[in-house]
């Protein structure tokens, strides 16, 4: 059952200390900025955060890190031009880092949502990121055992949602959203617009409402002119 929540603060209010939180986005595209801000304000701490990156600039995920709420981050690409908040915490030994190749990160999240206990991936084999992992040979090629990433909460951003939680995304902001929505006990989504049930083409739904627990409508900045009438 999907519930529409009035504001971001109420949507994240019960996130507990010590939670594992999947946060959508690739850089800032698809990053649920208002939900992350609400999480920062609600005070939950000792969090494990899973995101492709480790924060950009000073806002969103970077602000959550700066507030000292994150014990560990699991990501593929922490170091960027504007990852100064993470960089300082990491170099000071104040945050734990697990670097995961991007495709393994996506597939480990997907596996969690799909009830897969583990899978063998060729990515990373023969590198330091596969050290200590079980290696098996199939058809003459080596693969490393990768385990799913389950989470207590997912915070994601979608474009539109209907009354039963069906989601559509916008362009490359889709990225980790559909995977994370399925991999968490509680999935919280911020959408630019809630439309009446029946208004989304069932053939075009990307994330079915079964994966969505809470939705908050947060209108986004003005879209490019060509899309004002929606697609």
């Amino acid at each position: 059952m999907t519930f529409t929540i009035a504001d971001a603060a109420s949507a994240v209010a019960d996130i507990a200390d010590g939670s594992t939180v999947l946060i959508g986005g690739f850089g800032t595209a698809g990053q649920p900025m208002e939900l992350i801000e609400a999480l920062t304000h609600c005070g939950a701490t000792d969090l494990t955060v899973v995101n492709n990156n480790a924060g950009n600039g000073q806002e969103g995920l970077a602000a959550l890190l700066a507030a000292g709420r994150v014990r560990k981050i699991i990501c593929s690409f922490p170091r960027q031009k504007d990852s100064q908040v993470f960089d300082a915490l990491y170099l000071a030994g104040k945050i734990e880092l697990e670097v995961v190749p991007q495709g393994n990160l996506a597939e480990r999240i997907r596996a969690a949502g799909a009830g897969i206990a583990g899978f063998y991936s060729p990515t990373g084999v023969g590198t330091m990121l596969a050290e200590g992992k079980e290696i098996r040979t199939f058809g003459g090629r080596d693969y490393a055992l990768e385990l799913p990433i389950h989470a207590d909460v997912a915070l994601i951003k979608a474009y539109r949602c209907d009354g039963v939680g069906n989601l559509v995304y916008r362009k490359t902001a889709r990225n980790f959203g559909p995977l994370m929505a399925a991999a968490a006990t509680t999935t919280i989504v911020q959408v630019s617009e809630i439309v009446p049930t029946g208004a989304l083409d069932p053939e075009a739904v990307v994330t079915p409402g079964i994966y969505v627990d809470r939705v908050v409508e947060i209108p986004s900045a003005r879209l490019p002119r060509s899309e004002e009438n929606g697609q």
């Binding site: 595209a29 922490p78 190749p101 495709g103 990160l105 990515t123 490359t172 002119r225």
Partner: protein, 226 residues
């Protein structure tokens, strides 16, 4: 196949050499000319993105970006900029007719599943056996960041590297054995450099045509025959 001509994009610092060393644009043009018509291609962040500028529109080449798109168009400018439409380097781009969007697990399944024909990556080092090092310098205080490099290197049908042949300190980047941490083992089949294109096969590097130095001079600097 076309070879970059001496009148476009050369660096004239090799007086006694057979032909002038290739600049970045000439390397990118060479890579673009080698991509088969109709191919699905991923261009890594940094220098490989230049290749897009030299693809022939009539060749029907489709660009993949790891963050979830096929049919990526050129960089966006002015009113075209859309924060929801970026490439792997987080730079705003455009979509071409026939573009499609998909989530990350699908995007990396396309790589790992062997559906991409070519990926072009930058590198710190490549070994003549095809090992690739392009994600980590191995320095103790360096913050590791791998992104999609490991998935791309092992996933595409062909992995090509585009790099300068020598580092700023003059040390070779095409080596017998990588000293930097590996991105993937035995994955690179071709290396495009300012001194020419090296085909890697059977544990050896074969230089197609030397630019900026003779074959013998390059062999002496690299420490193996080319």
């Amino acid at each position: 196949m076309t070879t970059p001509s001496a009148r476009t994009g050369v660096i004239s610092d090799a007086a006694a050499a057979p032909a002038a060393r290739l600049d970045r644009a000439a390397i990118a043009r060479t890579v673009a000319a080698d991509i088969p018509a109709g191919a699905y291609v991923n261009l890594g962040i940094g220098q490989p993105t230049l290749v897009a500028d030299y693809l022939q529109p009539t060749a029907g080449i489709t660009l993949h970006t790891e963050n979830g798109m096929l049919g990526m168009g050129p960089m966006a400018h002015g009113d075209e900029v859309d924060p929801d439409l970026i490439n792997a380097g987080k730079i705003p781009v455009t979509e071409l007719p026939g573009a499609s969007y998909f989530h990350h697990a699908d995007s990396f399944a396309m790589m790992r599943g062997g559906h991409l024909d070519v990926c072009v990556l930058g590198a710190f080092q490549v070994s003549i056996g095809g090992d690739l090092a392009n994600w980590h310098t191995g320095e103790p205080d360096a913050i590791p960041a791998v992104g999609g490099a490991m998935d791309l290197a092992i996933g595409a049908k062909q992995t090509w590297v585009m790099m300068t042949l020598f580092a700023k300190d003059g040390s070779p980047k095409l080596v017998s054995r990588c000293s930097y941490p590996l991105t993937a083992a035995r994955c690179v089949c071709r290396v495009y450099t300012d001194y020419g294109v090296f085909e890697l096969a059977g544990g050896a590097a074969h230089l197609r045509e030397p630019f900026g130095a003779t074959r013998a001079e390059l062999a002496a600097r690299l420490g193996f025959s080319v």
